[in-house]
């Protein structure tokens, strides 16, 4: 059932995210191919990077809006009458939404990274740069970064969904309820960042000196920083499932 739910969820959001990815790719290719014809490359690079930064900011904001729409509209509007009456356990609806958001987070990060490398690091043209970009992403250190990004992504997305769910669970005074939900969410986020900060302040930055560090191959993986994000995310998910069970779709 999870894969079926995920299939329809990705189908619903694919046009929006693919369009944004298309804009990034088109921009990277146009700039990448223009490099041999540009006279003042330093000025062009700075201008292009500023523009790339602006596009990335807009795309990040749109992504947050699309993830919000996908969650809130699909579950708490009229469509919720279909989703919450499907013969599936309610937690699967949440798992689907988290997986879907993580898939798009990874996809957009990957496209942005590749587009950036193709546009600005093409020594011998954009297609050679693409090969460099793939080598960069497959490097072991960056696999660790990828895992860590997903753990943090899982926490942030779960917290985001928890705030939305709490806001929608109000029977009356929805505005007050939503403000309380946001304040609780910010407090929970501060707790998470404090837990990570405490660990780094206590044990320092060097991974090999920190407790709960596991060496895999040539790389040190810190399980506290990874695990705390997952645990904080799981607690937010449990709160959402609890709210689903008390949900009043009116």
């Amino acid at each position: 059932m999870l894969f079926k739910l995920l299939k329809y969820d990705l189908m619903y959001s694919k046009n929006k995210f693919l369009s944004m990815a298309g804009i990034l790719v088109a921009y990277a290719l146009i700039f990448g191919f223009s490099v041999p014809f540009i006279q003042d490359l330093i000025f062009a690079n700075i201008s292009a990077m500023v523009l790339f930064g602006l596009i990335s900011m807009v795309i990040t904001k749109l992504s947050i809006i699309f993830v919000y729409q996908n969650y809130a509209k699909n579950l708490f509007s009229d469509h919720g009458y279909l989703m919450f009456t499907l013969p599936v356990k309610p937690y699967l609806l949440l798992v689907t939404k988290i997986f879907s958001a993580l898939i798009w987070l990874n996809f957009m990060t990957l496209v942005s990274a590749v587009a950036f490398v193709v546009a600005f690091f093409g020594q011998h043209g954009p297609f050679f740069a693409l090969s460099d970009a793939i080598d960069f992403l497959l490097d072991g250190t960056h696999v660790w970064l990828f895992i860590h990004m997903n753990a943090i992504g899982f926490f942030v997305i779960s917290l985001f969904f928890a705030i939305i769910t709490l806001g929608h669970s109000a029977v009356k005074s929805r505005v007050v309820h939503s403000i309380v939900a946001v304040v609780l969410g910010i407090t929970y986020f501060i707790l998470w960042s404090e837990a990570q900060g405490w660990y780094i302040r206590t044990f320092g930055w060097a991974t090999q000196n920190q407790p709960l560090t596991v060496r895999i191959g040539n790389f040190d993986y810190n399980m506290f920083l990874l695990g705390s994000s997952i645990v904080f995310g799981l607690v937010a998910c449990l709160a959402i499932i609890k709210l689903y069970k008390r949900m009043e779709l009116r």
Partner: protein, 233 residues
């Protein structure tokens, strides 16, 4: 018993929405849940389908309480457009086939063909009436134990009402299923229902076999409804 409700109470804040509801529906019955707007019909239906979870009393659908297990046996038509409108009609059929084991795809396609609804159209490109017909076709193409239809004829023109009632009756299997149908338009559904439940201000005001009520009260359900709710409707 397909539906068994005992001592059901539901409040919205301090305001009571349902008071001491007792309702049993065996197999093979078409039950009309009748009452004016605000009488508690939709609240009762939402409790049965698991959309409202805060209540007291017992509600059983077959052996299950409202929730995902019960949802496998309930085919629910809400009073809203609940099927996502970005889906094409054929994709909506596939959606129902993916999630409901009792869904009959051929039956759905046949019903939609008979209504001249193009399968490759997105729901958002269809008229509201066509969207409602698509939803009804999907709901009635399931072989569910209980069909719960919330105001299926409430917002359609008289010609469409006949079509909807005809569709419900044609596709309902009285040997294995029952229908709970809410409405405030009595005259159109009176000939098809076996049992009537009158809701007034969240309480069951009157319930029984339609023939018995007619005989006892000496009037049709429609006349009785108008009399009872003349100051409410």
């Amino acid at each position: 018993m397909i539906l068994d409700i005992k001592g059901l109470y539901k409040n919205y804040g301090k305001k009571p929405a349902l008071k001491d509801i007792n309702l049993q529906i065996p197999t093979g019955r078409i039950v009309g849940l009748l009452g004016p707007n605000g009488s508690g019909k939709t609240t009762l239906i939402k409790i049965i389908t698991g959309l409202l979870s805060q209540y007291s009393g017992t509600v059983k659908i077959g052996e299950n309480i409202p929730g995902h297990l019960a949802n496998a046996t309930i085919s629910y038509l809400p009073d809203k457009s609940h099927v996502p409108t970005w889906l094409t009609v054929s994709r909506a059929i596939t959606f129902f086939q993916d999630f409901y084991h009792d869904f009959n795809k051929e039956q759905a396609i046949s019903m939609l063909h008979s209504m001249n609804i193009p399968l490759d159209s997105r729901l958002k490109h269809l008229s509201r009436g066509q969207q409602e017909k698509v939803q009804l076709s999907l709901i009635m193409s399931r072989k569910a134990a209980l069909y719960v239809l919330d105001e299926p004829i409430g917002a359609v023109d008289p010609a469409s009402r006949d079509f909807i009632i005809d569709t419900i009756l044609k596709n309902y299997d009285s040997k294995h299923s029952s229908i709970l149908l809410s409405t405030h338009i009595i005259s159109d559904i009176e000939p098809m229902i076996d049992q009537a439940v009158f809701l007034k201000e969240g309480e069951i005001f009157l319930q029984g076999e339609v023939d018995d009520i007619r005989e006892e009260k000496g009037s049709s359900l429609d006349e009785l409804f108008r009399e009872v709710f003349k100051n409410v409707v």
